[in-house]
């Protein structure tokens, strides 16, 4: 565990980040305000007026050995039109017909490993090796909200108009983040499927 600031610590080199995230989530400790998982780490923010590093570390150690059964996560289906501007480039890079790229992307059940970058932006994996095309050399200044992209073994949906370098293969009307309610469609640990739609 690394002390990342005077009010946070970072648990690194986790093999099963989501299991620890859920264990910590289920047994909150006094003064801990936020858990921020990434692919292999969790940043824990706390209020130093209420607790301190040593107490938080103790709590993490207890949760690590507690063996809480990992939650299977909800299954979320996201309808997608495979009409993205980079779909042909992805097919070329993968050496596959476009239909095959779509079939591979849509036939995989993804895990939402973590959210970051922007409210509601879920990093989903793992994209099948055959279509795991690296991000574009030059990022776009503005990617439209609802764009579905691939970057290596990760896929995701841009919840808002944002800059971005992912290969855009489709688009969705699903609301990934509702600013009015503060709700996100996907949470860490959820399972996600993309369902092709024709129109």
């Amino acid at each position: 565990m690394v002390w990342a600031s005077d009010q946070s610590l970072l648990v690194r080199e986790l093999d099963d980040c989501l299991a620890l995230f859920h264990a910590l989530h289920q047994r909150r400790a006094p003064g801990v305000t936020d858990l921020s998982p990434a692919r292999r780490s969790i940043l824990i923010r706390f209020d130093a007026r209420l607790t301190e590093h040593a107490a938080v570390e103790q709590w993490v150690r207890q949760a690590s050995v507690s063996g809480v059964a990992p939650s299977p996560g909800r299954l979320i289906e996201i309808p997608v039109r495979y009409d993205g501007p980079d779909l042909a480039d992805v097919a070329t890079a993968a050496g596959l017909p476009v239909e095959q790229v779509i079939a591979l992307h849509a036939s995989t059940e993804y895990t939402a490993y973590f959210l970051g970058f922007a409210p509601g932006f879920a990093y989903l994996g793992d994209v099948p090796e055959a279509i795991a095309v690296p991000r574009r050399g030059t990022p776009r200044v503005a990617v439209p909200a609802g764009s579905v992209g691939i970057a290596g073994r990760q896929t995701g949906v841009y919840p808002a108009r944002l800059p971005g370098g992912w290969n855009l293969i489709g688009s969705t009307d699903a609301m990934m983040f509702d600013e009015a309610t503060g709700q996100t469609l996907v949470e860490p640990g959820d399972r996600v499927r993309f369902v092709p739609r024709a129109d």
Partner: protein, 278 residues
């Protein structure tokens, strides 16, 4: 009671102390950039410390009060038509004018009651259950600093040399906002681990990231919740209000302190806040 927005200034918004507990959804806690200034303003008008107030940046604004009200303005040294850091009782029809700032970049207006609405020219802000009299008090002006205390950060041990961070006098870039404060220096920080890019991880408030160009960025209250640049150090929480008051072209230095010292200073600051109103 209503407050008419005659002129909203440049970046005026309603802010409270933020909403933690959602970084796992990619949502930053947000809240007032200078939380100490908002807390003091609220205390001066007998609000809860976490009540929403107006955060103004670089340019204040003009506001007309529809009825008598109890107000206070804190934070940077703005030119205002009321004394700063003081409880003020204004009468119905009073026009509050807040212009530019001599030092600092943000000020906070608190009004007794519960504030809601949108800060836009011609709109009315609504104050529920507003008092019209109050004990008149003053707040000791907060001692904002240009030498910022830092602790080690997530990747400090991976940097071959911390000297450029300490020895450089950094200049605050024009491209600074609530997401991040960009710093420019003559000696970029070289040798960032991983060539300056690594897998995304959760980032702490006040993390000092070093992108490949070696010019550091302080991640601030509206920053992304994850980041992929190595973190050389982290602003000590006690100096986050001072970060909030940095203006473009200000010059700053960093001073490394221990975690124990950072905690001691934070608790000392809490005691200072408790005693700052007289």
């Amino acid at each position: 009671m209503r407050i008419e927005v005659l002129s909203p200034g440049s970046l005026t918004t309603i802010r409270d102390l933020g909403q933690p507990g959602r970084t796992h959804l990619g949502i930053s806690p947000g809240g007032a950039a200078d939380s100490v200034a908002l807390r003091l303003a609220n205390r001066l008008v007998d609000n809860r410390e976490d009540a929403p107030g107006l955060e103004m940046t670089l340019q204040g604004g003009r506001f007309r009060f529809g009825a008598d009200a109890v107000i206070a303005v804190t934070g940077g040294e703005f030119d205002a038509s009321v004394p700063l850091n003081t409880t003020v009782v204004v009468q119905g029809g009073f026009e509050l004018r807040i212009a530019g700032t001599r030092t600092g970049v943000r000020c906070y207006l608190a009004v007794n009651g519960r504030l809601s609405g949108t800060v836009r020219r011609g709109e009315q802000l609504i104050m529920d259950s507003a008092a019209t009299t109050a004990a008149l008090r003053k707040a000791t002006p907060y001692p904002y600093r240009k030498t910022l205390r830092v602790t080690p950060g997530a990747d400090t041990d991976a940097f071959p040399d911390l000297a450029p961070l300490h020895q450089t006098e950094w200049t605050v870039s024009d491209h600074s906002n609530r997401q991040g404060i960009r710093l420019l220096g003559d000696l970029p920080i070289i040798g960032a681990p991983g060539g300056g890019v690594q897998p995304s991880e959760g980032v702490a408030l006040g993390a000092i990231q070093v992108p490949p160009d070696g010019q550091p960025v302080i991640l601030f209250v509206d920053s992304q919740t994850t980041g992929g640049y190595p973190v050389i150090a982290n602003i000590a929480s006690v100096d986050l209000p001072s970060v909030a008051q940095l203006r473009p072209r200000d010059r700053v230095r960093f001073e490394m302190i221990s975690f124990a010292e950072a905690r001691r200073l934070l608790l000392e600051q809490e005691a200072w806040i408790a005693n700052a109103i007289r």
